[in-house]
Amino acid sequence: MLNMAFKCILWFAQEHVNFRISEFESLAKMFGLQFRLVSQQLLKPFWIVEFPSEKTALQYASRSVALRAIFELYSYANTLPDFHNRLRSHVDTHHNELARHFSSDSSFKITVETYNKHFSQREKVEKIETMDYLPIEGAVDLKNPRVELWYLEFWGLDPKAVPPVPEDILFGRLLAQGQRHLIKDLSLKKRKFIGNTSMDAQLSLLMANQAMVRDGDLVFDPFVGTGSLLVSAAKFGGYVLGADIDYMMVHAQCRPSRISQRIREKDESIRANLKQYGCADRYMDVLVADFSNPLWHPRLSFDSIITDPPYGIREATEKVKTKKSGKEDTRSEDMIHYPSTSHYSLQSLYCDLLEFSAKHLKLGGRLVCWLPFHREDYDEEMLPHHKHLRLVANSEQPLTGNTSRRLLTYEKSSEYSHSEALESRKTFVNAPSEDFRDRYFNNALESRKDRRMRKSELRERGRLEMASRGKIPTDARAKKCDLNKARFA
């Protein structure tokens, strides 16, 4: 039996709740961490976890993006009297360990954090005063305390049904912050080169964690676009390689996505993005290539493959293919030829992606990718599968309407052999997303026209409401239209 002596409070951001469990598991596996989950309800923002030591706890915090902060647990209970009893006995039994934090040459600060209920500063101070039995001898220092103590109250998850008393009360010493500052550091708002479908910083960091990217790994994105997934992989020390079928995109000459921008600047590129974040050294290459055809040398193996394939809504799913048309070929030999592309069905795209990953991942390497689907026809059975890949995580992010996407994480579990792979390929036929695009545009719950009419009716009602209250309406929509017109004038 392992000695799990170190109890911690993990405080998570209540955003992408679905993803934190798989992130935790991935990071634990990546660092080889031992742990025991004490909390049962993993949707709550506070978890209690036992680690073997403070060091392992800090290792986890050094990579987690879902984590706000991690604390050493001093007391935890469901009711206030229990909480204080436990805190008192903890202080008594751990006298020696606490002495160094509570001694007179240290300084401290207590922060009160409540979830789902707001308290004034005075009420918070009153909460702190209830713990006046703590034998702290150091001085209070609100700016640069040596020790930060946190008092946490959890008042349920539903803002419409706040319970009369807190459900959980926790107290502990701050060990470290999570890595949520990276979300701001890598924000798309300030990124040099972005496109319509650039992945936001938080999700792309989560993907890099799912893929267990470590220093010196070789990471590949076969649908690289503007390289938004490569940024976070490179930030965690991966050497990144990307490919895309769109020449203009890879050369950063496609239409700008920012409303304030008319033409692309000369120095926009995926490499410039990496330079912006101080990881230009991690840039290997990007190239123009069609994923449906083999390109890479068979001996090449990647540590992880992280990708967001096009769904056919905002970016087209394409591959090079001959189109038959009745028209006469007017091309001459010396003309520049642009290969014609045709629809690349999501079904065969995922087939190719899994086959490619089985071939080119190292053993134990991970494929992390998104799969779009219509929520009503989700079924575990529809997930793409492959003989040599094991699905290790699957988290959902709702999109607009009744569509959704899932972040799938596969791990290569056995060495690739060609004949076996061919067999398993056949099993993945009833792919769900085959008609994702068609259904998205044609078979939505309400037609596009109905939706437009409903929205305009809503706007009209809002306008009348405002007029009756004597407010002057500003037409945000018209403003946006004007901006767009000015852009193309």
């Binding site: 050369h251 050294d281 123009v288 390109l295 290969p339």
Partner: protein, 124 residues
């Protein structure tokens, strides 16, 4: 395009091509990009490389005297060679040039440092 990437590329996609490796590299414009030397990464990359193509790239980049024609048995403890490999594989950026399929002679252009491996629809 870096010369490490060059080592990974084939022209297998062309109809009828079996191996398509190594591609014939021509450099018309290159640039030196200084990057941090990471010996563990170079070491980890070694088993993924085809040595004859590494040597071939060194010849084209006029660095052939730095790289032995045959792969030495132990590279891991040869710091000097690792440095030279790092320079060859990561610091030379081919801005303009071309890659030629050894079997069909099909040319893939490299523009602004990005190789275009797209084929025409009648070639796949």
């Amino acid at each position: 395009m870096k010369l490490s990437t060059y080592n990974f590329l084939t022209s297998m996609a062309i109809k009828g091509v079996k191996v398509g490796f190594p591609l014939k590299l021509t450099i018309s414009k290159k640039e030196l990009v200084e990057t941090e030397f990471n010996p563990t990464f170079v070491e980890r990359l070694l088993p993924k490389l085809d040595w004859s193509a590494v040597y071939g790239a060194a010849q084209v980049a006029e660095l052939a005297e730095d790289i032995p024609a045959v792969q030495p048995e132990s590279i891991a403890d040869n710091e000097q060679l690792l440095q030279k490999l790092h320079h060859l594989l990561f610091e030379i950026d081919v801005l303009e040039g071309q890659l030629e399929c050894p079997e069909t002679g099909r040319i893939f252009p490299i523009t602004d440092g990005i190789p275009n491996m797209l084929l025409n629809e009648d070639e796949v």
